[in-house]
């Protein structure tokens, strides 16, 4: 008797401000115009993706004290783009990265509830923490937040947000009062957005530290990981899903969707050649040196990008002031591992940086890519992938046209959206349990 295959879940990541995007390609469009986001989201819908995923910008990246000039720089406000996308899409989920460090729960909870209402239940929140003074300098709270404190804040933020989202009962004219007193937040709140279609937006989590995984096991419904290698992905899958039982959750209540890049060709050889070309566009000589300068903390502009790694010591003096006590040791260890890798494989500076930042996850014919994605999911290394293309906004076109139909033929990917499906429905997640019992209403 044949069983139906495990279903693949796909998210579409709009390429943000990093070297993924080949902006020098003549086919590369705007990263800012709303038309680019609309095109991308409609393509994701054409490919029956679960959701569109946007990163967040809190400060422009800098290099040597100036804004970084080499990669794409600048992007719109995440929530405002997702809200506008809610008006021009019908099915695809809308997920944004939003910091627990530089927001306040009442405001962010009402913005996410608003997005869930505007999209008829398609909102998701990638809850991230940020510790550093560099980003903090753009916000009221400013300053530096220790690693442990930022996860304390994130947990308290998520717990308080859930209480606010749960504070309206169906059909009620008024919410319950939420009194919350914790180390980070002390509020006495009446939430002003009625219960949203999903009750709560889907919570996504991207951190990979032990603290991050604990947060994920308790609160997350999707984990966006960077473990693309099959064995590493399966180790993470087992570890994170193994933590769920302690919170009374089952395997299907959390989906793991690692980032994945892809290069498609008519033959394997053609795909490999295209992959090499794209990687060389993604890491041009000046970008390779800039990458190393960020590790070394000093000017390396005299070095040859096609030569061996620099033979100078890193400069970590200025960094320690920012609160990195063990910064120097960490940098030394990082450089040692880079040397080891480049010597073992005989890599030049540029080849090393390509290897580190532009190694494409899936390279091959559409058949090869579809079968690999299916294998990861059927063998429980992942529940699917967060796909990132290398062009804006057309980076998803070829995947939607050529790979998706093959996944559908395998029976492991949807060929239509159910009418009125929420993001939680698309992901196959259970309805969220309410944090407040009806008894709490009596205390109102």
């Amino acid at each position: 008797m044949s069983r139906s295959p495990r279903q693949i879940h796909l998210a579409a990541h709009f390429p943000g401000v990093n070297s993924t995007t080949v902006w020098t390609d003549p086919a590369s469009g705007s990263q800012i115009d709303f038309a680019a986001f609309e095109y991308f989201a409609r393509t994701a819908e054409r490919g029956f993706f679960d959701y569109v995923f946007l990163a967040e910008g809190l400060r422009l990246r800098e290099h040597k004290g100036r804004v970084h000039e080499l990669d794409v720089l600048g992007r719109p406000n995440t929530l405002a783009v997702l809200a506008a996308l809610s008006a021009v899409t019908d099915h695809v989920g809308l997920v944004g990265t939003l910091s627990t460090t530089f927001n306040e729960p009442y405001e962010l909870a009402r913005q996410l509830a608003t997005l869930d209402h505007l999209s008829a239940g398609r909102a998701g929140w990638n809850a991230v923490t940020s510790s550093d003074a560099f980003h903090g300098a753009n916000f009221r709270r400013g300053g530096f937040l220790a690693h442990a404190d930022r996860y304390e804040r994130a947990k308290e933020f998520a717990a308080l947000s859930k209480k606010l989202w749960d504070s309206w009962d169906e059909g009620e004219a008024l919410p319950r009062r939420i009194r919350h007193s914790g180390a980070q937040f002390d509020v006495d709140a009446l939430f002003d957005v009625p219960r949203s279609p999903q009750g709560r937006p889907v919570i996504v989590q991207a951190g990979d530290s032990a603290d991050g995984r604990d947060f994920g096991a308790e609160h997350a419904e999707v984990i966006f990981s960077l473990h693309q290698d099959f064995d590493a992905a399966r180790v993470l899958y087992d570890d994170v899903k193994g933590r769920l039982a302690a919170w009374g959750r089952d395997e299907d209540s959390l989906k793991i969707l690692p980032a994945a890049t892809f290069v498609i060709g008519d033959t394997d050889a053609e795909a490999r050649e295209r992959s090499r070309e794209i990687a060389r566009q993604q890491v041009r000589p000046e970008q390779a040196l800039t990458y190393l300068e960020q590790v070394w903390g000093r000017d390396l502009s005299g070095y040859d990008p096609d030569g061996p790694l620099p033979d100078v010591e890193p400069d970590t003096g200025s960094e320690t002031a920012r609160g990195w006590a063990n910064r120097h040791k960490a940098v030394q260890a990082r450089i040692a591992s880079l040397r080891e890798l480049s010597e073992a494989e005989g890599l030049s500076v540029r080849e090393l940086v390509i290897r580190l930042t532009a190694k494409h996850t899936f390279v091959g014919t559409p058949e090869h890519i579809a079968s690999e994605i299916d294998r990861y999911v059927q063998e429980r290394a992942t529940d699917g992938f967060t796909v990132v293309g290398h062009l804006t906004p057309h980076g998803l076109d070829e995947f939607a046209t050529r790979v998706v139909p093959l996944l559908q033929e395998r029976g492991s990917y949807r060929d239509s959206y159910d009418e009125g499906a929420t993001l939680r429905d698309l992901l196959g997640l259970p309805a969220p349990a309410r944090t407040l019992t009806p008894d709490a209403a009596a205390a109102r």
């Binding site: 902006w23 020098t24 800012i32 709303f34 609309e38 910008g57 809190l58 400060r59 422009l60 804004v67 970084h68 000039e69 080499l70 990669d71 794409v72 720089l73 600048g74 992007r75 719109p76 406000n77 929530l79 405002a80 783009v81 809200a83 506008a84 809610s86 008006a87 530089f102 927001n103 306040e104 009442y106 405001e107 009402r110 913005q111 608003t114 997005l115 209402h117 505007l118 300098a137 753009n138 916000f139 009221r140 400013g142 309206w168 009620e172 004219a173 008024l174 919410p175 937040f185 002390d186 509020v187 006495d188 709140a189 009446l190 939430f191 002003d192 957005v193 009625p194 949203s196 041009r284």
Partner: protein
Amino acid sequence: MSHRIHLAVALERAGWHPAAGRAAGVLPHDLVTPKPWVDQARALDRAGVVFATIEDALALTDRFEDADDPRPGRVRGRLDAVLLASALAPLTHRIGLVPTVTTTHTEPFHVATGIQTLDVASRGRAGVRLVVGGSPAERANFGRRDELDAEAGFREAGEVADVLGRLWDSWQDDAIIRDAATGRFVDADRIHNADFAGEFFSITGASIVPRSPQGRPVISVLAHESAPYRLAAEHADVVFVTPHGPAAATGILAELDGAAAELRRSAERLRVFADVVVLIDDAPGRAHDALARLDDLDGGAFRSDAAVVAGTPTEVADHIRALAATGVDGVRLRPARQPDDVFAIADRLAPLLRATRVLRDDDAATLRGRLGLPRPQSRYAVTPAEDPRTTPAREKVAP
């Protein structure tokens, strides 16, 4: 020759009369679905209304209500106005979208980038109405922030307006160069840190958003008295005032002119819009009856900060014409009942005002353009006259 004005509309849940939602049987959930907002915004867009403001507050209860004892029968529930305006942007064509933003509890950086993004998504139709959020209910929702007196709240709002302008200017229009030859996507010399340190907050970096279509979206405030008049005169493009008749409007305009002479930072004149609550019915006398029924339902006569005018489209148009004669730049109508009075404004009143040449004609695509405001250069832009590399030999000529 009659003075011509702009027509704007202030959208507020079920309408501005506190019993409007109750009379129409509106439930909190009805107000948080996008459809009624889309329908009303599109109707006003088609009618040529110059912009719609969207009310917001960071509290369930109204500003002057006891937060511990919400009044029964009032309609509750809101969407975040910036996000609602963003969702309306792709579905409308010409109308300006002006969400309300509270300055007391929000992050100025998020406000700046949110409004810039609204400007991008609407292709140059974004504005913002800044409001001080000093109510006890708002403070309780956020916790931990010290109580601000009213004057400090306005000073903080002024800092927010100031830093919005700095962030909106932080990228010069030509900062993105996409120079494949040198591999430079942007020119770092054309991006500038805000470097703002004020009494209430500081912001170091530049915006994450490149300069938006209007450069600087339109800043507006509602003002009833001297402190907010001064805030408006110093920082705003548009001010909403609440004269209860033409004579009062004349006095307010004089006070605003005085404040502007002392404080104004912009070379452009402050645009003044007079607020009026309207309840419209085609049949003579019916609007007054409807208002009386709403008052009964609410248990008392409706008193607003703005004048309340109930009547036929012709009667309301007469009131607007009298206000126009005082020299205001526009009138912002607050519909007593939504959507009924919004549709009456779009389908009856606006065509009547246009036919009788009360409304100003405009064919500009951006909100600034429609209001007659030029697109400002970034404060960091180097004009040809100032750039030593391109300074021409001839004498400078005054503009």
